[in-house]
Each structure stands twice: as structure tokens, then as C-alpha cells.
């Protein structure tokens, strides 16, 4: 009798345990999301597409979609779980400004300072954000959601996460994954558009090499930068403030240790945390929706609009520039930020048409201007829609 009770108890325990396993709680959605996560990891490792981002996000997708019995305080959306605490930095927009601090500390604005007119190219590419905003409104998204979706066109992951956490937290997972995916696909998306809108003659334009920029100019840049942009758009302060602060740490030359930490260990730690938690936030139940499909479609369109606007603006701008000062329209795409991939695309496409035409340094100008531009645009959207 006792033996029977023992085995019965053991059996019941095993059945009870089975209820808590992932196998008992798995749904099709989980499998799909895990497969997407694995695909991201594949792209990161074997295709080298933005591995710093796609690897943590891909693995985060697996972490976030392991099925579990609810109430054990383990899921990213469960109060008190470790993942929930880590996700707090995303939800409250803490990580993106820290990443901007690191970006500021590792960015050399010399290309922009030596040829400041390239800033306007960075501004033009922000049409992608507002083009996507208008399209999202037309598709029936609310104004806040449309603003959050539009920022995908800024091609700036931290900005997208920051704005969506404020305007549409429910869509943040889809928006972040969409933004990072398209940033990784910049070498695929942009070249056909650049070729479509340029003539052979324009592609061969050789730009004047950037002049030497003095240390004084480099130090003045972040100070004037924050004063001008943040007085105009104070809502962009968390991102722009940190960006320019990080840059001043780098350029001042007296805070080398701080700059090294901001551009090294700090940004690495935050990138790990943001990537993993954003990936984990894409739980099948919240991610696999019709809205997510719409977000991905709009994200792609926003990149197309942004790239086209950048290239076309350069062509327009060239009408007013003297011979010798003209800009190669192949650097117009770099205005979408996506640093430094978009600039690298300009370089590669440029080299295809002229083996001696090195556009990388010129493209870095609109590229970093795009970062400033998208942060300003995010501030405007936040100001109007929050």
C-alpha cells in the first residue's frame, strides 16, 4: 500500500512538474519568434550584419519566448523578475541617453565641422521620419503610435527606443526590432535608390578633401551644439545633451579616462542590456500582431523615403553650389544616420564608379548630422505628441 502511494505520489509530482516545463506551455507563436531569433543570430554571426545589435536582440528573442508557467516572476513583463528590472532601463528611456553618451565620446565631428553645409543633408534625410508618420496616420495608427513608428526612419536604434518608450510602449519591441533590422540591411536597401536618383556624371563628382580642424573648433562644437539645438528643441535634451556631453569629454582632452569609459565599457554594457531586453520584450503574444506587420512595412518605407530625400536634396543643393564645391549625391544616403554603415555604403557605391573617389570621410559629415537631426526630430515628436 505504502509502495503504491509512493509511486502514485512520484507520478503526480512528475505530472505536476511537466505542467511547468516549456513543452507544456509552448505555442506556435513562441516557435516562430525563436526561429526569428535564431535567424538574427545567423545574420549576426555568419553575415556580420550589425552583430553587436542583432546578436543580443536575437538571443533576447529566444530568452523572451521560452514558454513558462505564468506567475513565477521570470518573464520580462512580470513584476519583480530580474528581466523586468533590466527592462526598466528600456521602459523608462534610461539606456538610450547612455548610449548617446558613448556615441558622443566615440564620434569625431571633424568631417562635419570642416564642411558644415553637410549638416543640411542630415536634416533632409529626416523626411523619412515624417513620411512614415503620415503613412502611419493614413493606415489608422493613433498619432502617438504614428510618431513612434515614424522615428524608425531616423535609422537610429536608441532614438527609436527612447521615443517609442514615451509615445507607444506597447509597440516598442516591434519598433526597435524593425529599426535595428533595417539598419543592418542598409547595404541592401540604399544602393538601388542611390543609383536610381543619380546620373553617371553626378556619381563621379570628386569632393574637396576636408580641411584640418583645430582642437578649439572641436571643443566649441559640442558646447554650441547643445546650446543651439536644445534651446530650440528642449525635449531632445536627454539624447542631445548626452551626445554633446560625451563629445566634449572626448575633445576636451582632459577627461580621457571618462571618455574611454563612456565610449568603451559603458556603451558596451548598455548595448548588451538594451539588446537583450529589447529582444526579450518581443514575446509572441505582444509581438506577433497585425500591427507589427504594419510597423515593419512602414519601417522599410521610411528608410526608402529617408534615403531618397537625402540623395535628392544633395542634387537640389548642388544647383546653388559653385564648381569645385559641389557635393557628390552618393553621400546623401548617409543623412539617415545608421552610423557608420550608411557612410560605408556611400564609400562602396562611390568606389564602384571611380576607384579613386573616396567618399567615406565626406559621408561621415551627413552621417553624424543625421544623428543630431533624428534626435531633434524625436524631440519635436515628443513635444507635440506626448
Amino acid at each position: 500500500m505504502a509502495e503504491h502511494n509512493f509511486f502514485q505520489f512520484l507520478g503526480e509530482n512528475l505530472v505536476e512538474f511537466a505542467k511547468f516545463t516549456g513543452f507544456a506551455n509552448v505555442e506556435y507563436g513562441h516557435i516562430i519568434m525563436i526561429l526569428i531569433g535564431l535567424f538574427f543570430i545567423y545574420l549576426a554571426i555568419f553575415k556580420k550584419f550589425e552583430p553587436m545589435l542583432l546578436l543580443p536582440i536575437g538571443f533576447g528573442m529566444i530568452v523572451g519566448n521560452i514558454p513558462f508557467y505564468p506567475g513565477l516572476q521570470i518573464g520580462v513583463y512580470e513584476d519583480g523578475s530580474v528581466l523586468n528590472y533590466l527592462y526598466f532601463g528600456v521602459l523608462k528611456g534610461i539606456y538610450p541617453p547612455l548610449i548617446f553618451l558613448g556615441i558622443g565620446a566615440m564620434t569625431d565631428f571633424s568631417a562635419l565641422i570642416s564642411n558644415p553645409k553637410l549638416m543640411l543633408v542630415g536634416a533632409a534625410a529626416q523626411f523619412g521620419i515624417f513620411g512614415a508618420y503620415m503613412l502611419a496616420l493614413a493606415l489608422g495608427f493613433t498619432a502617438s503610435e504614428a510618431g513612434a513608428i515614424g522615428i524608425i526612419g531616423g535609422a537610429d536604434g536608441p532614438t527609436a527606443i527612447f521615443l517609442s518608450s514615451k509615445l507607444a510602449p506597447d509597440l516598442m519591441g516591434a519598433i526597435a526590432v524593425s529599426a535595428y533590422s533595417y539598419m543592418a540591411l542598409v547595404p541592401v536597401i540604399q544602393p538601388p535608390i542611390m543609383k536610381l536618383f543619380t546620373t553617371q556624371k553626378e556619381r563621379l563628382i570628386k569632393m574637396r578633401p576636408p580641411r584640418m580642424v583645430s582642437t578649439t573648433e572641436k571643443i566649441i562644437f559640442p558646447v554650441i551644439g547643445i546650446l543651439l539645438t536644445c534651446f530650440l528643441v528642449p525635449s531632445g535634451l536627454p539624447l542631445l545633451g548626452m551626445l554633446f556631453f560625451g563629445n566634449l569629454l572626448k575633445e576636451s582632452g582632459v577627461t580621457r579616462r571618462l571618455a574611454t569609459t563612456a565610449s568603451g565599457p559603458l556603451i558596451d554594457i548598455v548595448t548588451i542590456l538594451i539588446g537583450l531586453t529589447v529582444g526579450a520584450s518581443t514575446q509572441a503574444t505582444t509581438f506577433l500582431t497585425v500591427k507589427s506587420v504594419g510597423i515593419f512595412a512602414l519601417g522599410a518605407l521610411s528608410f526608402v523615403i529617408a534615403t531618397s530625400a537625402g540623395v535628392l536634396f544633395v542634387k537640389f543643393f548642388n544647383l546653388f553650389l559653385k564648381e569645385g564645391n559641389k557635393i557628390n549625391p552618393l553621400i546623401g544616403n548617409a543623412g539617415v544616420s545608421a552610423v557608420p554603415d550608411a557612410a560605408r555604403v556611400s564609400q562602396e557605391v562611390g568606389l564602384k564608379y571611380d576607384k579613386s573617389n573616396y567618399l567615406l570621410m565626406h559621408a561621415m559629415g551627413p552621417n553624424v548630422a543625421g544623428v543630431i537631426g533624428s534626435a531633434v526630430a524625436a524631440g519635436i515628436l515628443l513635444g507635440f505628441l506626448s
Binding site: I113, M119, L137, T142, S214, F221, G225, G373, V376, I380
Partner: protein, 305 residues
Amino acid sequence: MKERLSKIAAVVAFGLLAVPCLAQSLKDVRINEVLVKNENSYMDDYGQRNGWIELFNSGYSNVNIAGCYLSVDPSNPAATYKIPKNDPRTVIPPQGYVVFFADGSADKGTFYTNFTLDKTGEIYLLDAGKHESDKVTYDLSAMTPDISIGYMTFDQNEGLAWGNLPATTPGSTNEVYEIVPRSEIFREHDPSGFIMTITAMTVVFSALMLLFLCFKAVGNILMRVDANKNAKASGTAPVRQTAAQLNKEAISGEVIAAIATTIRLFEEDLHDKESEVITINRVARTYSPWSSKIYGINNQPVRKR
């Protein structure tokens, strides 16, 4: 000395007692809603209907109102109620509410004041030092039974205002109407997003145009200063180079490519993976009392006389 110490201790003790009601955090607490005449509204724990005062912590940290005062006439101790200490319920959580019943009896508990609301037409919230932190006034004769007064957004463009509320809401927000988010109000005026696009792009262009103009000016000034410096050093007239001259002097693409290749080759030479690795380990006995002979068990303790 002892006397001085006891004085210091008294001052410290007084300071500590005052801590629960710090003036700075009390600023976050406001008198949010008041019902002067309660006939058929909110009932207290004793089953009675009295006037009540709702306090709201508008801040984002806990505020302990223990030691603070509620009063309808601060000069009159009989109309001033000191909120007792040692009751955890006096800690108002962020964005939280507490309700005090003004029934004029001081012996029913923490949330029952020793005054009623039908005497003066004023309610004060005072800090531990009896300094005014918040105050509301009302016209006693205009008070309608079961209609409370409080802060509410009566007009989207005006922000919070004090007035008669459409419903009594003790312990919760006074906003009973559906609040249309600002973004949706914006959308009503701009359904296509065209105005937003024009506005935002104008601002983005303005911001970067300002930077452009500023740095064009800064660059020109610094280049002129450099040219002057160089001229002074060489004793010739300052010369500014034209774009064509700069182009001429520019390093050609081939040279840049050669430099880039050299740097790349140099960096690649500093590789991490070595084909052969020789590891030399230092062989040394590290000292430890555990392995030391002088502490070994063979060393018998020596008794010193």
C-alpha cells in the same frame, strides 16, 4: 558639559522628530478635494457622514505627513489638528491620496480632525513648524450638500483649476471626464500629418542651419586667425587659399589609398592569434604560514618563565 550635551541631544531629537514632515517634500502634497456638506455622500468607518478633506501627493516619492497640521484657523488650537506620528498610513505614496474626516472629534483616530468645515471657509495644511504649505478657501454660503470642490482640468487649455466637481471622488483622481490625449487633439487639427511634417522639418532644418551658420563663421574666424599668425611668423602678408588651390594641394586618392593600406597591414600585423605560443611560468614557492616550517606542528610551544 552634561547640560550642553543634553541640549544638543534635545536639538537633534527635535530635528529627528521633524523629519517625517520635511517642508520640501510636503510641497508635493496639496489639498485636492473638499466636501463641506455631506448628507448622502461618502460614509466614514463609524457609519457617519461628515465633511472631509482629501490630500494628494503629486510628487514621485513617499511623503510622510505625520507631525504636520490641518487647520481651519491656525491661531486657534481647537481648530488645528496635529496629524499623529507612528501611524504608517500617514505616508502618502507617490500620486496617492488620504482622506481626513472633519467631524470635530479628536478621539476617533488618525484621520478624524478636531474641527469641522462649516466655520471659517478656509483650510490650511501646515508643516511641522506650523508654516503654511497649502491653503484653500471657499464660500461657506455657496456650499451645496454632496457637491465637493477641488482641482480638476475643466478646460484642456487652462490646466488645473479649483471649482465645483461633477462627482465626489474621495481617495481617487478628480478627473471623471475622459481625457483626450494631446496627441489626438493634435491629430484632429492635422489628420494627414502634413502640418506636423512641415513644422518639424522646418525646425530640424532651422536647428542644423543654425549650427551650419555658426560653424561656418567659427571656421572662417579661426582660419583667419591662423593665417594671420602664420603671416606674422613668416613676415609676409596673410594669404587665404581658394577652393581650387586647396584642391590642387589636396592629397590624391591614390596616396590616401596607399596610406590606408599601410595602416591596415600594420594593424593586421598586430594580430592576437599566434602560430606558436611559448609560455614561461615563473616557478617560485610562495610563502604561507600554513606551509612554513616555523609554524609546523614539530615546533612545540615554549613556555617562558
